[in-house]
């Protein structure tokens, strides 16, 4: 899109950095988050959790808890088993416990729930519940979990004889094996991407309110996908009378999601059961430690990667074998045909003819998950593998990392491009983005500075990442969750006075949908964004959609918005023709009005047309001006970017200091440049976090390390560098607005840029790879080993 917007600033269509429509309520402390919901007679729930990672439950004694003044009930697995609600399906068609009846499978697992008249008495009740456990052997290492003779964890599945959840593979194994065998150069590396947690500043929670009179259940909950959740609830609890038309899910303001608010957690289900049993509204808000220790994690991928090149320095083959630690249940949120998500985008931005990947999903005694951390379906893992390996191969061939990339990129004239693993990349100009990043940061001068510093013994590194994202899931032919196709929706009504109410199947968690969707409608109809009310998150009013995650809102619901608005415009044209007494073909559209060809003074504004739609519509036409679209994308979109990071290492402490970081993103046509930049800033920070700081690990007994903000290090303003951003624009050819989605690009692209920079700073000492997070301790140990620590 040209840099000049088509609409005026007052209309505020695409390309305008209009200020956000949702901000005033947040700035005044008037947001409505789930913990702000208070209902008459509401009671509180708190959860008893397991101290053991694997143990039989011998006895749960609730008698002391029930004597605590204010405690109303204690719910255990036995309570739920009476209603067959003690197990539930995951979004991956696996099963997970709501509350256990026999054994616990991870530390911090839910064991019982206390219902009480206040938060404080509920906590008193939790402290008074006594549970006797018999510890069982703990399996924390996924490789050991796959060994013959390992304890089989899922004893609830009678025919399960090992801990393998799935084996998935794609690509041409034989051709890839051959290409690697015949290659002039091959690099091999085990790359581990540890468990991390999205740690949205708002934790998860809900208020469940079952009305015994009309049998209707209303649940305010922290969910990114309210419609899908309603259907899951109906499937889980249909047999006890909760029928889908009597379930209302309201997703209020959400304090950050990033993928962590897609799954159904046991707490939600227990709160619903508690409300059904007591007839009272039940509030459950988890605390931070529960959030970090029990909610779905991300990553935990062990990747054995190999990348090969021919004698001319062209990449010829990629092979990756991955062991994926899913914890005790496969509770990821991938499309059902993709147990390893979209990991097969791992050929990245390079023209690689041969590729083969395989992934084994494994059960261990850890919390379930495998969800995203601000990325779509394992794309960060894929990008980290290919970008690390590309650097390693350049290092092996003694070629500059930028030069090596420019030589191996998919050329701009090869799009649409079919990757070796089957994806059709819609559009791209990788060379353009990298060259822009190199210009903006002054690449050549930095390499010179690095050489000078190296001669003086100073450790400076420059790292590049030229990633390709894959978002906008997805086309109904391949993409569904629990069978529900991954379309999304917009329902658009123009009122008689020309104002608009628009509702969506998605749910913003901070992305600014109330603003950007309004801008799309403003672009298409010429109605000022200020006159457009955007609503999401209430399943009683909004059209069905799969929700907001995996950067799918703009590619899917954004497209639905454009199509719905165009349907409205088509009807408006008929009404305008009627009002102006000309044929439809004689009308010309410009944002906000139809005028008669050759007689521009004869025109009707969209507001005049809207009024006529209710007061003076043509005979034979239905009154009103509204439309709905359920958009089924023809393909995914492939945003991309090139990032360059400069680091200085402290030889005394091992600290990595990011001196500069330039991010050039290409997300196609841009709806609101200010919001896109904000998304990139946030994404970069959530890329830096796992690269340098964040990790959740477990000791051999399955005790969580990193289970509170004491030791799970979310970046503050002090560690976070001053991001420098820019963009190129390569529109998506198949999206109605040419847009691609951007929320997660930076989280995907940033970690390898940082890791590559640190390795580059140490490359002359023979260092080839460091696993993230690259902590001061890890760097210091390397400095010590290489004899350069101060």
């Amino acid at each position: 899109m040209s840099s000049t917007p088509r609409t005026s600033p007052e209309v505020g269509g695409m390309g305008h950095s209009i200020r956000r429509k949702e901000d005033p309520r947040f700035l005044r402390g008037q947001g409505q988050y789930v913990d702000d919901v208070v209902l008459p007679g509401m009671v509180y729930m708190d959860i008893v959790r397991s101290p053991f990672a694997h143990a039989k439950i011998r006895r749960i004694d609730t008698s002391a808890a029930l004597k605590v003044p204010g405690v109303l009930a204690v719910i255990t697995g036995e309570t739920l088993a009476q209603y067959k609600l003690h197990w539930m399906p995951t979004l991956m068609s696996d099963t997970q416990m709501v509350l256990p009846t026999e054994k616990v499978m991870y530390q911090a697992q839910e064991v019982a729930a206390v219902i009480a008249t206040s938060r404080y008495t509920a906590a008193d009740g939790v402290a008074a519940v006594e549970v006797d456990y018999d510890p069982l052997p703990v399996v924390v290492d996924p490789f050991k979990a796959l060994e013959p003779g390992a304890p089989v964890l899922r004893t609830d599945k009678p025919d399960k004889k090992d801990n393998r959840i799935f084996h998935w593979e794609t690509g041409d194994r034989a051709a890839t094996d051959r290409a690697i065998k015949e290659a002039a150069a091959v690099v091999r590396q085990r790359i581990y991407i540890p468990r991390i947690h999205v740690a949205s500043i708002e934790t998860c929670g809900c208020v469940a309110s079952f009305n015994k009179t009309d049998g209707k259940l209303t649940v305010w909950m922290t969910t990114q996908a309210p419609h899908a959740i309603r259907t899951v609830f109906a499937l889980v609890a249909g047999h006890v009378g909760l029928s889908e038309e009597r379930i209302r899910i309201i997703s209020p303001d959400i304090g950050g999601g990033f993928g962590g608010k897609v799954p159904v957690y046991p707490g939600y289900v227990i709160a619903v059961a508690a409300s059904v049993v007591t007839g009272l509204p039940v509030k459950w808000i988890e605390d931070r430690m529960e959030n970090l220790q029990a909610d779905s994690f991300a990553r935990d991928y062990h990747m054995d990667a190999e990348l090969a090149a021919d004698a001319s320095g062209r990449i010829t083959a990629l092979r990756i074998k991955t062991v994926a630690d899913h914890g005790y249940a496969d509770a990821a949120a991938n499309p059902s045909k993709f147990p390893a998500g979209l990991f097969s985008v791992c050929t990245g931005s390079y023209d690689i003819k041969n590729a083969f990947v395989e992934v084994d999903g494994v059960y261990t005694n850890k919390p379930p998950g495998g969800i995203a951390y601000r990325c779509s379906f394992r794309v960060t893992e894929a990008a980290h593998a290919i970008e690390r390996m590309t650097d390693m191969l350049a290092q092996e061939l003694k070629v500059d990392a930028a030069e090596f990339r420019l030589k191996n990129f998919i050329a701009a004239d090869k799009f649409p491009y079919r990757s070796a693993l089957g994806w059709e990349y819609d559009s791209g100009n990788y060379e353009g983005a990298l060259k822009k990043a190199m210009d903006q940061i002054g690449y050549a001068a930095l390499r010179q500075e690095q050489a000078e510093k190296r001669a003086r013994g100073e450790l400076m590194g420059i790292g590049i990442s030229s990633f390709t994202e894959i978002v906008g899931a997805g086309p109904s032919k391949h993409f569904d969750i629990l069978g529900i196709k991954m379309f999304d929706s917009c329902e658009l009504r123009v009122h008689p006075t020309g104002k608009v109410l628009a509702r969506f199947g998605t749910k913003s968690q901070g992305q600014g949908h109330e603003t950007t969707y309004a801008q799309i409608i403003a672009e298409e109809l010429g109605i000022p964004a200020a006159h457009i009310q955007v609503e999401e998150g209430d399943t009683d009013t909004a059209p069905y959609g799969l929700g907001t995650y995996a950067s799918r809102s703009t590619p899917v619901a954004g497209a639905a918005t454009a199509i719905a608005a165009r349907k409205v415009r088509d009807k408006a044209r008929k009404i305008a023709a009627h009002l102006l007494e000309v044929s439809e073909d004689d009308l010309v559209w410009e944002p906000g009005k139809f005028s008669v060809k050759g007689a521009p003074a004869k025109s009707k504004t969209i507001q005049e047309i809207a009024l006529a739609a209710y007061t003076n519509h043509p005979p034979g036409m239905e009154a009103g001006l509204e439309a709905v679209n359920y958009y089924d994308p023809p393909n995914l979109t492939f945003p991309f970017g090139s990032y360059i990071c400069v680091v200085d290492l402290d030889r005394g402490t091992g600290e990595v200091k990011i001196r500069r970081f330039v991010a050039i993103d290409d997300c196609g046509n841009i709806i609101n440049p200010m919001i896109v930049q904000g998304q990139v800033h946030g994404g970069l920070t959530m890329g830096m976090a796992p690269a340098l700081l964040e990790e959740i690990s477990y000791d051999e007994s399955g005790n969580v390390q990193g289970g509170s903000f004491m030791d799970y290090l979310v970046p503050t303003a002090v560690e976070t560098p001053k991001w420098e951003t820019g963009h190129t624009v390569t529109p998506s050819p198949h999206h109605p607005l040419g847009a691609k989605g951007v929320g997660e690009s930076a989280t995907v692209g940033a970690p390898p840029a940082i890791a590559n920079a640190v390795v580059d700073a140490l490359a002359h000492l023979g260092v080839r790879h460091i696993d993230i997070p690259i902590t001061p301790e890890k760097v210091w140990r390397i400095l010590k080993e290489k004899g350069v620590a101060e």
């Binding site: 947040f26 402390g29 947001g31 500043i201 708002e202 904000g678 303003a717």
Partner: protein
């Protein structure tokens, strides 16, 4: 459990309540006074979502007992705007896109406002240090720094 009467000034208005000894200030504000702009993001005084000003100084109200606020002045996000007009720090966050999900924003703005009471022209490093007890997961802080600078310019 013992109960106490606390009397305090919240956003300029006198308030009182009967509280348990253990009641946290954040719950007094949110649950008793229904000032829900103050949020809770952790239990360990790290995230700063619950930041309020106690006698003008930013504190994390999840680790202050309600009884400790007896006789003192508390300011919350609801007290920032005057006569309907936004405080310069609120203007700054709006104009510089300093917020996304809005959950950390009240605490972040109060910390920023307290900084600007102490110093008229804080440098970038000074702002970053001042807000280092307030975690934001959405913005990457760049625009929060700009928002505080925006407010500083407006207040000078």
């Amino acid at each position: 459990m013992a109960r106490h009467t606390v009397q305090l000034t919240v956003n300029g208005a006198p308030r009182s309540a009967e509280v348990e000894s253990r009641l946290l200030l954040v719950h007094l504000l949110r649950d008793e006074f229904r000032l829900t702009g103050t949020h809770i993001g952790c239990d360990t005084t790290h995230c700063g979502a619950c930041t309020v000003l106690l006698d003008g100084v930013p504190v994390k109200s999840c680790t202050v007992l309600a009884v400790q606020a007896d006789g003192r002045q508390v300011q919350t996000v609801e007290g920032l705007a005057r006569d309907g007009a936004l405080h310069p720090i609120q203007e700054g966050f709006m104009q510089e896109h300093g917020l996304q999900c809005g959950f950390c924003t009240p605490g972040m703005m109060l910390t920023g406002a307290a900084l600007l009471e102490r110093t008229k022209s804080p440098g970038e490093d000074e702002i970053r240090r001042a807000i280092s007890g307030n975690l934001c997961r959405c913005t990457g802080y760049v625009n929060i720094v700009k928002a505080v600078q925006h407010a500083a310019a407006k207040m000078r």
